[in-house]
Amino acid sequence: MKLMQLQRTMARAVMQPLTSSERMQGRAPDGGPMKRYASRFIKPNDRLTSFERLEIYNRQYWFRVLAALGEDFPGLCAVLGQGRFDAMARAYLIANPSRSFTLRNLGSRMESWLRKNPKWAGPNQELALDIARLEWADIEAFDGKTEPALRPDDLSIAAGPRMKLTLQPYVRLLSFRYPVDDLLLEVRKEDEDTDFASNTFQERRKRKRVRAVAKLKPAPIFLAVHRIDYTVYFRRLDQEEFSILTALRQGKTLAAAVEWAFRGSQIAPEERPLKVQTWFETWSTLGWFCRPEKKQAAS
């Protein structure tokens, strides 16, 4: 068998889903018996059949990718419940096998896939989509790039109505239908409490999570997922504040961003300058703006 053919044959078996009892399926990817499929390319030994040897890799694959997805989406797991999450994760990984050299990117298509496949998103689809999006943004904010931050001197050079400000790549701006930031923080707080991992504690935690998810009512929020000293934080934003930042990220000038953000706003016109000033002070303190490139600063 040529190397490529052998690797395709093995990979198909390794990535084929396990049975409900976490064993290798009896049926092979080609529709025939897996025992025959395995024996075509794997040697048996005095202790293990070809099937059993292949099964070690099949199980390792699924245990690894499912564990990685579970680590990245504890909030989604809380929303769906463990059983539904496990089934969803398997379906997701069948449809979206890893295409990256790093497991870090395994969940990159979670929200878009759930949107296209709502049957896996549970009874509260909007909530599941929201939390999946927040958890992926959290991963991106954690190891996103940092550019040199804007300094007051830079602002004086670049200032003007046509000034364009660039947001730090690691800052993620998101709007949600549910206050999923609170939910995720609550889930994480419970997960940190590992000293009491008895069965009773686990059961109590499970019930607490079910209650937390059930009581969560829709309440639109605007959020910046960002970092301070390499720790990721969620910062609630006013709608107008969110709109300015979104417009800046889209490349609008500062003047255009502010104008766009206040269209139809409930904030009284006389209060707006102070609002904008306060927001800018906060964003600058948090280091959310990048230093302008020299070309722009000079123009």
Binding site: M1, M4, R53
Partner: protein, 283 residues
């Protein structure tokens, strides 16, 4: 013999894997450690805490990069994005050599994230060696390939695993990261004498040695890196350094990770063998 062209003519001692549970201890207590091995993929990112930690480690320690997903043995082409990011990291760490596994793990752009065993064929050796050369040329540093633990063998194999390793490293003109725990695990799973393996490795190409613990099941052994090193593995290590000389040695401990001190103490057990080898070489 330890300092050779496959490890950048360095003479490193005993290192341990840099793992997240130990970050705080290392950065605050600054323990004396010869060097740290990092998993390259954990730092092939754009920014954030992992790179900050790495930069702080680099200020005080020597670091060597070890990869888990280059997949020299995959029949498909190398991933250019992977290589580009790896080169950025190589420039950051100034690693004197870089290692990854003699295995495959991706096909048609799909990654298993596992270290799957190679068929020991001449075709596979040719393809693998070509890819090692490409990576070496691109990164411009010595490459060492690591033998993996395996749980399956193929009908197609035309030679033993050690013959295959030799075939690849000769064709690629690269170094070897000799994992004596992996040799032990595979010897138990495939019924061969692990000393036959160690004795036939070209000692002059050994850039580094890995030691680790594993888990024994009823019908096979799994390479889990979650236990101390067992005596039969220490015996293989002793033989390996008898042949290769005082070689950079690293203890892998990746699961159920104990305290930094416990891991470091386990790694330093290698000293008794290294000292004996040094004495023998001096005589």
């Amino acid at each position: 013999m330890s300092a050779n062209r496959f490890n950048g003519f360095t003479d490193y001692g005993i290192g341990i894997g840099l793992r997240a549970p130990h970050y705080d201890h290392i950065l605050t207590r600054k323990p004396v450690v010869d060097w740290f091995e990092i998993i390259s993929e954990n730092f092939m990112i754009d920014g954030g805490r992992p790179l900050d930690i790495l930069d702080r480690i680099l200020e005080q320690y020597k670091v060597v990069q070890h990869g888990v997903s280059m997949y020299f043995g995959s029949a498909e082409k190398l991933n250019r994005e992977h290589l580009r990011r790896l080169k950025d990291l190589v420039q950051r760490t100034k690693t004197p050599w870089l290692s990854d596994h003699l295995c495959w793990g991706s096909v048609d752009g799909r990654y298993t994230h596992d270290l799957l065993p190679m068929p020991y064929t001449f075709e596979a050796a040719r393809i693998t060696a070509q890819k090692v050369r490409e990576v070496q040329d691109f990164l411009e540093i010595p490459i060492a390939v690591e033998n993996v633990s395996s749980y399956a063998e193929y009908h197609d194999s035309e030679m033993t695993e050690w013959e295959f390793l030799n075939e690849v490293v000769e064709r690629a003109d690269c170094g070897i990261l000799l994992d004596v725990n992996n040799i032990y695990v595979s010897s138990q799973n495939h019924n061969f004498n692990p000393l036959d393996y160690v004795n036939s490795v070209p000692a002059e190409r050994v850039a580094q040695i890995h030691i680790a613990g594993h888990s024994k099941y009823r019908k096979y052994i799994l390479d889990t890196h979650d236990h101390p090193v067992i005596d039969p593995v220490w015996k293989l290590y002793e033989r390996a350094i008898h042949l290769a000389g005082h070689t950079a040695t690293l203890l892998e401990w990746d699961d159920s990770i104990p305290s930094f001190q416990e891991v470091h103490d386990e790694a330093r057990k290698a000293n008794r063998f290294l000292r004996a080898t040094a004495l023998a070489e001096a005589v």
